[in-house]
């Protein structure tokens, strides 16, 4: 029987598991979290019990390295010691490792109390914890609306939701027919109603350009921005806040795919019609192949699982995915990142949060003929060399200094030296 290993139990990985099982494969699903569901199905992990009872299900299992299709797993609590090391050698591998928020740097974004939109969502939905009582939600993209709704659901006060793109850009991408087709219209009406009932303004063409505070965020400075996100002088407005949630879309987490040798396109894993990557036997699905939301992720996962089990996906499966993807492309067009955002930065603005490399450091290093190329730039400024390995600043540094973002992280997730030195490997 074909053994399919699926990394990630979010909407994509779970759909892959279901379809690989239906196609007759022997399925192992693993996730570093201790419950299934990924970023979307928080608090609904019980829904997957029946499905996972038919698979080998490994929660609290972190894939820290790949060699081709050989999967190196650490089992045990996150960042613990003495986790058990395992190696799997499947016939086919489905990577469904999802995404993290993308946040563009701005002065003060490193202050405590500034969160990614996804963090606020995860804490509200998964733990019923509100990140603050006077919260401003800002950035770009449709995801800001469910974040504001979740905050309101747990009783937090939301001062406003700010979308940096102007009305015209947003409306040009949203197509009501397409939205209705993927069932997104009801969701939108629901969020709009909730914001209205709570008198939370949804303002377009406005961005947070600075967070202020000493030990924590206390004020957010917003400004009107043009279509390219350049600031309209004199339109600044200061909100008193105790939390600020910012998201400028998402970035895929492709490090495992990179480790497997898969070709990327613009930070996302390149896949063929049946979600096949450039490496034989390795499939990818969900937000690592492009940002499209949970519906698109699940549709891709279904195809990946089916194909990984050795079957040819039928028309219906392919059409479902293509519709979801087409809608996602429209949404991306409706919420682009304006090219003039670096205008928000000052010399002393932190760009690399881990190493506290500033915009000034980066500019002078980039202008220095002794540090040509992204590699030398990194060594010269330490940007991207801290614990997060450029996950947070990589795209911004690449944009500010020219050159491509690097996704190669030989160790995809941290492993303690003691665990690495331990010779014993479990089957």
């Amino acid at each position: 029987m074909t053994h399919v290993v699926i990394v990630g139990a979010g909407p994509a990985g779970l759909a892959a598991a279901e379809h690989a099982l239906a196609a007759g494969a022997d399925v192992t699903v693993l996730d570093q979290a201790d419950v299934p569901g990924g970023q979307y199905h928080r608090g609904a992990s019980h829904r997957f019990e029946a499905l996972l009872s038919r698979c080998t299900w490994w929660p609290e299992s972190t894939v820290w390295a790949l060699e081709g299709k050989r999967v190196h797993v650490l089992r045990g609590p996150a960042d613990g010691t003495n986790r058990r090391r395992h190696t799997l050698e499947p016939d086919a591998l489905v990577l469904a490792t999802g995404a993290h928020d993308r946040v563009l740097p701005f002065p003060g974004w490193q202050l405590p109390g500034v969160f990614t939109a996804g963090a606020a969502q995860a804490l509200a939905k998964g733990e019923r914890v509100a990140v603050g009582q006077r919260v401003l939600v800002a950035g770009a993209g449709p995801f800001l609306l469910p974040v504001a709704a979740s905050l309101l659901d747990i009783g937090a006060g939301v001062r406003a939701v700010l979308e940096a793109n102007p009305v015209r850009t947003v409306l040009s991408g949203w197509s009501w027919r397409a939205a209705a087709h993927v069932g997104k219209l009801n969701e939108l009406v629901h969020y709009a109603g909730k914001l209205a009932r709570h008198r939370v303004p949804y303002l377009l063409g406005r961005a947070v350009v600075e967070a202020r505070g000493d030990d924590r965020v206390r004020e957010a400075v917003t400004a009107r921005v043009r279509a390219d996100w350049s600031v309209v002088p004199g339109t600044e407005r200061t909100y008193r806040v105790d939390a600020l949630c910012v998201g400028h879309g998402f970035a895929g987490q492709p490090e495992l795919a990179v480790a497997a040798g898969c070709v990327l396109d613009g930070g996302f894993v390149r896949v063929g019609l049946d979600q096949r990557t450039s490496v034989p036997g390795v499939f990818a699905a969900g937000e690592i192949t492009g940002i499209g939301g949970a519906v698109a992720a699940a549709a891709e996962g279904a195809i990946a699982g089916w194909a990984a089990a050795g079957r040819t996906p039928g028309r219906a499966l392919l059409e479902r995915r293509d519709h979801a993807r087409a809608f996602a492309r429209r949404l991306a067009a409706a919420h682009p990142i304006g090219a003039a955002w670096p205008g928000w930065l000052r010399e002393d603005t932190v760009v690399c949060r881990c190493e506290e490399t500033t915009y000034g450091d980066l500019k002078s290093a980039a202008a220095d003929p002794a540090t040509p190329g992204p590699h030398a730039l990194k060594l010269g400024t330490r940007a991207g060399l801290g614990p997060c390995q450029g996950r947070m600043c990589g795209a911004a540094v690449a944009e500010l200094c020219g050159g491509a973002e690097r996704h190669h992280r030989p160790i995809a997730q941290p492993i303690r030296l003691g665990e690495l030195a331990e010779p014993k490997e479990n089957p």
Binding site: D34, H100, T116, G126, E127, G386
Partner: protein, 87 residues
């Protein structure tokens, strides 16, 4: 997720609910930051899912645990940390 739990943070008792992450317990208790960078700047949660490494702390003697990825357990001893100490 309703059983109360108690953990200590630098010796001080903080209560939370079973099922919350260490980050969730600390935030719910009004603690926003628990780490200092090399320059001494305070940091807490940023990404919430294990990608930014801003939320590192020491759990039961083990340093550099991401607070947003570790479920809090009753009796956990948490220590805040600074980059000099952890690195």
């Amino acid at each position: 997720m309703s059983e109360p739990i108690a953990i200590t943070v630098d010796g001080e008792t903080v209560t939370g609910l079973a099922g919350q992450t260490v980050a969730g317990v600390l935030l719910a208790a009004g603690r926003l930051s628990w780490r200092r960078t090399r320059s001494g700047a305070p940091r807490g949660v940023f990404c919430g899912i294990g990608a930014c490494f801003d939320c590192l702390l020491t759990v039961n003697g083990v340093a550099d645990v991401r607070a947003c990825r570790r479920r809090a357990a009753d009796g956990d001893e948490i220590r805040t940390q600074s980059r000099e100490e952890g690195a």
